[in-house]
């Protein structure tokens, strides 16, 4: 039975696995199940009831089950780990890579983590303690400690022989890091270079001395930018003394990028921390409601603005008609500029020149967009029932000013917030929108009041 992973025969395949479990046919189950890519093993495992899962725990070795466990989400890991027998669970943890154990330990009660740490092999436990000591979202926290180091004095042949023995355990064998006697990183050889090299050559002869490295304290976003820009499969993590302490691989970076992008969008929509589809309604509400309440209070300021102009509103009720339009357009233009800044900050470093260039461009863009929108709305105001020339003029000038100024606030506010290193969630779309609403409505009513006797 030859199996291609094409998702077509998945159901048939699952049916057979269920049958083997029903007949308690461990051998057939193992033969078929272990042929699968771990990602597919995980997919199938997730569909199992607790009874069936217990079959899996009996059928697989801790090392085999570790492949499945490492692919589960953190909340799932907690549930599953509680189902494992103590000894099986411990042995499985010993098989996980240090960065996966670290993620898991960071999510269970400290007391349990401490207990498990005390039961692990000492070298593994020390690695994990090191990783746990780094702040979340830094290179130190996402790196793995399973890498292969070689000495500059070894020959190509010697290293190849070692790879044959040790190659199966490391996170990657495609980059070999060269360290000297003080554990300092002095070079790197890719496996490709090693294979193409003369077998008798020493590593010192074939290695590249220029290694792109990151500090253990570097932000994960910086790490992902370096891996992307240099087209690397892994980047070494070093201490301030240039000692090699870990590597971050490209597959971890793919997860980081997804996470950072979710953060960008979450921040953009004031829904940070609540993007997960698996949250239940109560948790989702608990995370989203605070933003809405905060926005509600800020939004009350718009009520204050209009309240302050109640006199003119009572006289010219028509003015109310354009309140939402002014507010919407203020929000829309501000959001456009915000998106440009947020994306720019995610993809490149802004220096002073770039900021000035961007501000100039946005000012000119805002001016042009404001002019076009202002003229358009003036014309529209003429054709609606009860519209007149002066109303068109008031709304046109107001919309011009609103679009122009909203473009600038949408650009400047996130830049200032970034500069001040405040949590950028404060500059999310809805906040910029609300601030622009306040500015736009204030302009609208001020212009209308000053032109009151013409209306």
């Amino acid at each position: 039975m030859k199996k291609k992973i094409n998702f077509k025969n998945r159901e048939e395949f699952t049916y057979y696995l269920f049958l083997y479990m029903k007949n308690d046919d461990k051998t057939s189950f193992r033969t078929e199940f272990l042929e699968l890519h771990p990602t597919d093993q995980i997919d199938i495992f997730k569909q199992l009831s607790i009874e069936k899962r217990k079959h899996v725990y009996r059928y697989l070795t801790p090392a085999e089950f570790a492949e499945i466990f490492q692919g589960l989400q953190l909340t799932e890991q907690k549930t599953i780990f509680a189902e494992l027998e103590d000894d099986f669970g411990l042995r499985m943890i010993n098989e996980l890579s240090a960065d996966d154990v670290t993620d898991f330990f960071g999510n269970i009660p400290d007391s349990v983590a401490t207990y498990l740490l005390s039961k692990l092999e000492e070298s593994e436990a020390n690695n994990i303690k090191l990783l746990l000591s780094y702040k979340e979202d830094t290179a130190g926290a996402i790196m793995t400690t399973e890498f292969i180091t070689i000495s500059p004095n070894e020959t190509v042949t010697q290293v190849m022989a070692r790879l044959r023995k040790e190659g199966a355990d490391a996170e990657t064998i495609y980059y070999l890091y060269v360290v000297n006697d003080d554990d300092k990183l002095t070079g790197v050889v890719s496996l490709r270079e090693l294979i193409v090299a003369q077998t008798g050559a020493t590593i010192a002869q074939v290695m590249k001395e220029q290694v792109v490295t990151v500090s253990a304290f570097a932000d994960q976003e910086e790490v992902s930018m370096i891996i992307k820009d240099y087209d690397l499969l892994a980047v070494p993590v070093i201490t301030s003394e240039e000692k090699l302490i870990g590597i971050v691989t490209v597959d971890d970076i793919l997860d980081v990028i997804e996470e950072e992008n979710s953060e960008d969008i979450g921040q953009f929509a004031a829904v940070k921390g609540a993007l997960d589809l698996d949250l239940n309604a109560f948790v989702a509400t608990k995370r989203r409601l605070p933003w809405l309440i905060l926005l509600l209070f800020i939004g009350m300021l718009t009520a204050g603005i209009i309240g302050g102009f109640e006199g003119i509103l009572a006289e010219v009720a028509m003015l109310a008609i354009f309140i939402p339009l002014i507010a919407d357009m203020a929000g829309n233009t501000g959001t456009q500029s915000l998106a440009i800044v947020v994306r720019g900050l995610a993809l490149e470093k802004f220096d002073r020149n770039a900021v000035i260039k961007l501000l100039k461009r946005e000012a000119l863009s805002g001016f042009m967009m404001g002019t076009v929108c202002g003229i358009l709305v003036s014309i529209l105001a003429l054709v609606i029932p009860q519209g007149n020339l002066m109303l068109g003029f008031v709304i046109g000038v107001s919309l011009f000013a609103t679009v122009f100024i909203s473009t600038l606030t949408g650009t400047i506010i996130p830049l200032i917030i970034h500069k001040l290193k405040i949590d950028p969630a404060v500059a999310s779309g809805p906040f910029i929108t609300t601030i622009n609403d306040i500015v736009g409505l204030f302009l609208y009513f001020t212009i209308a009041t000053s032109l009151l006797h013409y209306l």
Copy 2:
């Protein structure tokens, strides 16, 4: 002189390179410059004036310059290519990988591309013609045709010997694809597995028969999901007859993910196609203004709604005070739900069950958030000057209904649009916001009118 790429000695380094060019010291320039990682070579090259660039063209071979050229942006490539002598340019193109040539050819006039194609080596030209024939953003368009295939009958030793010779040219040698006599993909061996394997074993004995593949017509987003989920360094691209025609590597996918995420944010903020910081004000305006004008016209509907209720507004001018608050909160809750759906669609496939589960959750969340916000605003309406119990009741009920319904429209509309396979830009934040404004304001005034005699 030992150089670490730490960006600290960059200036000093560049100074020396300039000196070598000034003295026309080709040897020293080559020694220093070629030591650098291509990414750093590109960074330095980009800072050069046209005179200095011409030095570089003389100093480097076409193959060496190809490393720089492939890292330039498409607009830069056009300028630079025009500066190259015909023969140098052609030889450089022959050195580029087929996917890079394809990107470049897609961006120059057809007549020039056809001319260049006719001058290329025939096998290279055919590869490029194949790649050019695939639709943008598909696996076929982003794949490369430089991969290594092996036969199931070769031994591990034979393959290793071949890698030593051919290894330098392929895009990756870390996955070796096994094809049978009909060019059909029948298995894969990672270089790691090859190294750990017994040297006398045949490929048929060590290869994995289950290969995760993608079709040449698969969307690039699907390709990136597969690479990410299966932690691959590359994925093979096959035809419907299972013939291997290319591979997509993880470094290409990093670019795809950035591009797709920019698209998500651009769509979210109605600023699609204008996120690039390098656009000048006129181009930026040209791309953003159409969205604003469209939103302006949709926004006129809100003016229409309020216009329809002018009677009650003239009677109770206080009602105008809460217009922007209702509009803002409608937009804010809708945007939260939209972000969840957009992110969900980017990260996983929604089946019927997932959609129903999400709708239920959002309905319950919206109900709870609406209740809290409604009660809060009622209390706030009591404490403001001229506030009263009935106004508090009207605004409270309206806000509850607005938040509840906006949550649902923010969820349902993007799902429907996705289902209908319409360009999802139509469901961007500002559009959802405007639609929710219309609904919210309509509710507000309808409720107010029906309770008019109590106000």
